[in-house]
């Protein structure tokens, strides 16, 4: 048992190689002779099977293909939603900025153009007067002038 040949040497002997000493060992050792016979039979079986046409095969579906497609769809969907949200956010901030600018600019514009009537109406409501707009406008301007002088 100690000098028994390893599998590689048995294969070399099967292929007509190996030393005379090794061959002699196989012939004298029952264990190696049995292993050698087994190796020869196995190779013969494998070769005879492979010399025949292969059995019908079916294509195995690629592993995790469903998962991969789901992930890809998820990534596309995520990118789409992110794009939408980013665009909406940008538009929203633009709109907010524009409206705040408009609000800031409104009194200035109003004072330059048509502030009179609107303030006039406001004051009309406050004091409950029903005079015509021009009269109100004059009164408001006077009261503002008075207030500012008073300060």
């Amino acid at each position: 048992m100690k000098n028994c040949l390893n599998e590689k040497t048995l294969l070399l002997l099967h292929d007509g190689e190996g030393s005379a000493e090794e061959r002699a060992h196989v012939e004298s050792c029952l264990n190696c002779a049995r292993r050698y016979r087994q190796l020869t039979d196995d190779i013969k079986d494998v070769v005879s099977i492979l010399k025949q046409p292969p059995p019908p095969m079916v294509r195995k579906p690629a592993a995790y293909s469903g998962l991969r497609w789901s992930l890809a769809a998820g990534v596309v969907m995520g990118a789409f939603l992110l794009g939408r949200m980013t665009t909406a956010g940008m538009l929203g901030s633009h709109a907010t900025a524009r409206s705040s600018q408009q609000l800031a600019a409104a009194p200035q514009q109003a004072s330059e153009t048509s502030v009179g009537p609107s303030y006039g109406l406001y004051i009309d409501n406050l004091i409950g007067q029903e005079d015509d707009t021009d009269a109100n406008q004059v009164a408001v301007e006077d009261s503002w002038n008075t207030d500012s002088d008073g300060l």
């Binding site: 599998e7 590689k8 294969l11 070399l12 292929d15 190796l39 196995d42 190779i43 079986d45 494998v46 070769v47 099977i49 492979l50 010399k51 025949q52 046409p53 292969p54 059995p55 019908p56 095969m57 079916v58 294509r59 195995k60 690629a62 592993a63």
Partner: protein, 162 residues
Amino acid sequence: MDHERIYRAHKTRILNLCRLLLRDSDEAEDVAQEVFLRAFERLSSQDPPTVWEAWLVRVAVNACRDRQRSAWWKSRRKPGDLDELAPWLSSSSEEEARSREWQSNVWQQLRSLNSKQRNVFVLRYIEGWSTSEVAETLSLTTAAVKTHLFRAVRHLRKAVER
């Protein structure tokens, strides 16, 4: 006429060889057709081979190796991505079922070998080439051929363990 004669005479052998060397039966058919196209080109040349069988086998081996080496093929064929044996639908005896199982196991084990081990085993034991012929064709040393052969045999024997 020669075209047809050559094709009929060698088609099965070349196709089987390609099926052994490549893991995919569709690929094997593609390569086998490619081999015969080259043969027909050669037939119309001034220097056709005298022994067609040996010429076709060598061209088939080289074509399969080219296919194995191509990046496209490597990316397409991953280790786990093998064809599986179709289910055996007809009722069979126990012996027939066992034989069928062996057959299936051997082919699966062959397909799971790496390309060098598979090429060496097929050329050495199925085609009956010598170790030095295999080494020369596959650009390997004889020691490397013996090592690949040993690993292939060890792997394939698992399929026919009693």
